[in-house]
């Protein structure tokens, strides 16, 4: 049945040990010199999760400070550093690298039947730039002036040499240049891999949706990140070489920084979100025992999001008073349509299925719920009159934290789903469910009071606030939610440590998965496959293990196939 595609790669050196996850000499030298996308993907995953824990610890300090109106836990200056570094770490060092550097790096080549990424050495360079960039950003805390303190958006003129004179700001700029190049190289790698290294029969419209989303993410990275890097170079020139690009006194324009930053920043929102959309799109059909509902619609929605995401940047800048309000408002409303389509497809994929509530599935459902709240409040903010009223209040903070907490929940879904593939072991389901409830309920408890206190006018990025019992109560609830999320991460750390030495019981295909990664061993061998099944649909592994079920092709979306497929599965 299986036509063998022996890792038909021509190896330049003696590659006779493709039988375990680590090939060749073990130890530090192997780690430093590896070009294997699986090891690099694991490096990325572990590093970014450590960054998330660090950023989360800073969030705990921020929430503790805000439980009282005139809190003295940290100084006002330290508070500025904390919220800046919390945001920077979570956005630049966790959410993106976890998705496109970690899980995508590991899974995309396997999902399309490729032996590695297209440019393995460039891939390794991406990781080293990401790691050094992360260290560079954190170094700011050890300089005499402290870390960067102008918010993760680095607005001019707060980020100029007068207002932020220390080395911390320069380290922040340098870190973003390093991680920016790391992201660009990963984007090149993802696009080239998906365009050139697919297995025979793996047409574009048979690729798993996760791979599709990573392709579009890769394209978006290539569109967006060079703009940020250019903007940062100009910022550095303003700070040190006496240019006046963002300096109104010298004839420059501070708003230009906002244009450049958000021209990167809004596609970046989708660079962060699309991989997690892809993860839950993999997880929901597998645990509903159904094919994905609306595959082509899903692809169309992803491409549409990419196209529209470049035209919405200035909705972050409504209150500057110099942007074209109707254009950006209209484009922002438009982009909610494809995202809404995805929600229909996810619900359609669960509808009538035999839903198994594993931890991964619970996290995926938690992602839908939290992201929906964040998405809908985003639509509210797309209306300029409402945005004028709520800009820079906790309403906005609660909005985007709903979105990014959804991403953290989605990340957990991805980890629980693919952990057996990456390690051969299961994470503990009972601890996973405990973590799910702590994280999701904690997350909701954290954001909901934020909306209310924001509507009452509490500004963001303030270490102290007016003494008002309502504000304080809402802040205390918010902090309790935040601490619950913190505890959930401890549960996760305990779970990961506990299962690190567990016996390898997962086997190649523990979830009865659809896509090619479930066809190979867990963890996959060097260069990924001993053999590959023929690819006739978007679910090659499922087709192979359920030969009696009618094959599902896109040209033939006969609804009668779906019950047939479920019946064949039940037999």
């Amino acid at each position: 049945m299986v036509d063998t595609l022996q890792p038909t790669t021509e190896h330049a050196h003696g590659d006779d040990h493709g039988h375990d996850e680590h090939h060749g000499a073990s130890g530090l030298l192997n780690w430093l010199t590896t070009t294997d996308h699986k090891i690099i993907g694991m490096n990325y995953t572990v590093t970014s999760v450590v960054m998330m824990l660090l950023g989360g610890a800073m969030a705990m300090l921020i929430r503790a400070q805000l439980t009282v109106p005139d809190g003295g836990l940290v100084s006002l200056a330290k508070y500025n550093e904390l919220f800046t570094m919390h945001g920077s770490i979570m956005i630049y060092l966790f959410a993106g690298p976890f998705a496109f550097g970690g899980l995508a790096n590991y899974m995309v080549p396997i999902q399309i039947g490729a032996p590695d990424m297209a440019f393995p050495r460039l891939n390794a360079l991406s990781y080293w730039l990401y790691l050094t960039g992360s260290v560079t950003m954190l170094l700011g805390f050890f300089t005499s002036g402290g870390a960067a303190n102008f918010g993760w958006v680095g607005y001019a003129p707060l980020s100029n040499a007068v207002n932020a004179p220390g080395a911390g700001a320069d380290l922040w700029i340098g870190a973003l240049i390093l991680t920016g190049f790391s992201a660009i190289f990963t984007g090149v790698n993802l696009v080239a891999t998906i365009f050139y290294l697919r297995a025979p029969g793996m047409t574009m419209f048979r690729m798993p949706i996760f791979t599709w989303n990573m392709l579009v993410t890769g394209i978006l990275i290539l569109l967006a990140f060079p703009v940020l890097t250019a903007g940062l170079v100009m910022l550095y020139c303003d700070r040190h070489f006496g240019t006046h690009i963002y300096d109104a006194n010298g004839g420059g324009s501070p708003v230009l920084w906002q244009h450049i930053f958000w021209f990167w920043g809004h596609p970046e929102v989708y660079i962060l979100a699309l991989p997690f959309f892809g993860m839950v799109t993999e997880i929901i059909p597998v645990f509903s025992k159904k094919p994905l509902f609306g595959y082509k619609g899903m692809v169309f929605a992803t491409i549409t999001i990419a196209a529209l995401s470049t035209g919405v940047w200035a909705h972050h800048m409504f209150t500057t008073g110099v942007v074209l309000l109707p254009f950006f408002s209209f484009m922002t409303y438009l982009i909610s349509i494809p995202t809404g389509m995805k929600f229909f497809n996810w619900i359609g994929s669960m509808w009538g299925g035999q839903v198994q509530y594993t931890s991964a599935m619970l996290f995926a459902i938690g992602f839908l719920l939290t992201f929906l709240i964040g998405g809908i409040t985003g639509i509210l903010l797309a209306s300029p009159p409402l945005d004028f009223f709520t800009h820079d209040t906790y309403f906005v903070v609660a909005h985007f934290h709903s979105v990014v907490i959804a991403l953290v929940i989605g990340a957990m879904a991805g980890i629980f789903y693919w952990y057996p593939k990456m390690t051969g072991r299961f994470l503990n389901e009972r601890l996973g469910k405990l973590q799910f409830w702590l994280l999701t309920l904690g997350g909701l408890l954290f954001v909901m009071p934020g909306y209310l206190v924001g509507l009452r006018g509490m500004p963001r990025r303030m270490a102290v606030y007016i003494i008002d019992p309502t504000w304080q109560n809402l802040n205390i609830w918010s902090s309790i939610g935040g601490f619950l999320m913190g505890i959930s991460m401890l549960v996760f750390a305990a779970n990961a440590l506990k299962t690190l030495k567990a016996p390898k019981t997962a086997g190649p295909n523990p979830w009865d998965g659809h896509t090619l990664e479930w066809f190979t061993t867990s963890p996959p061998p060097h260069h990924n496959f001993y053999s590959l099944p023929n690819i006739k649909s978007e679910r090659p592994t499922w087709d192979y293990f359920h030969p009696d079920a009618p094959a599902l092709t896109h040209d033939d979306h006969d609804p009668s196939h779906v019950p047939g497929a479920v019946k064949a599965d039940a037999q």
Binding site: D3, L5, T9, E10, H11, A12, H13, G14, D15, G24, L32, T33, T34, T35, A114, P115, D116, R121, N123, A124, L125, Y127, W128, L129, L131, T136, D170, I173, G174, F181, F195, L197, R198, A199, P200, G201, M204, F205, I219, L223, Y236, H259, I260, F263, I303, A306, A307, T310, G311, W313, A314, V322, V323, L324, F327, S531, L532, P533, N534, K536
Partner: protein, 132 residues
């Protein structure tokens, strides 16, 4: 390969048109330049892929195919290599030179040059022959 090319061209054309509409309507230069530049960034590689897709025709991964049709050499993948790490450290030193002083570049610049030439020579040999 055809669809890959179309995807990039469609994206580029859409963003380019959006840039023209935005430019005419807003008369704001920064955004207009970025949008039209982004459009070109889509169209340019898209046309290149289109040209290639015409030259090489349908590949096994563009149509119904069995694994056997794709058998043979896929590509040459380098084994382990120290150069990405060396290049990464060199770039890091260069960035630290921006912050802490030019003397970091004394380490960074030679390391970058050394690593780039090392990696290039390695490619010509077809991988790290000294690797395990």
């Amino acid at each position: 390969m055809k669809f890959e090319a179309r995807l990039l061209i469609w994206l580029g054309v859409f963003i380019g048109i959006m840039g023209i509409v935005y430019g005419v309507w807003s008369k704001e230069w920064g955004g207009t330049a970025m949008l039209i530049g982004t459009g070109i960034l889509g169209i340019f590689p898209g046309l290149y892929y289109r040209w290639w897709s015409k030259r090489i025709g349908e590949r096994p991964e563009d149509r119904d195919a069995t694994m056997a049709e794709g058998a043979g050499r896929i590509d040459t993948f380098p084994g382990s290599s120290i150069w990405p790490f060396a290049l990464g450290m060199g770039c890091w030193a260069l960035v630290l030179a921006l912050v802490f002083g030019t003397w970091f570049a004394v380490i960074g610049l030679p390391l970058v040059i050394f690593a780039v030439s090392g990696a290039t020579a390695e490619s010509r040999r077809g991988g790290d022959a000294s690797g395990h």
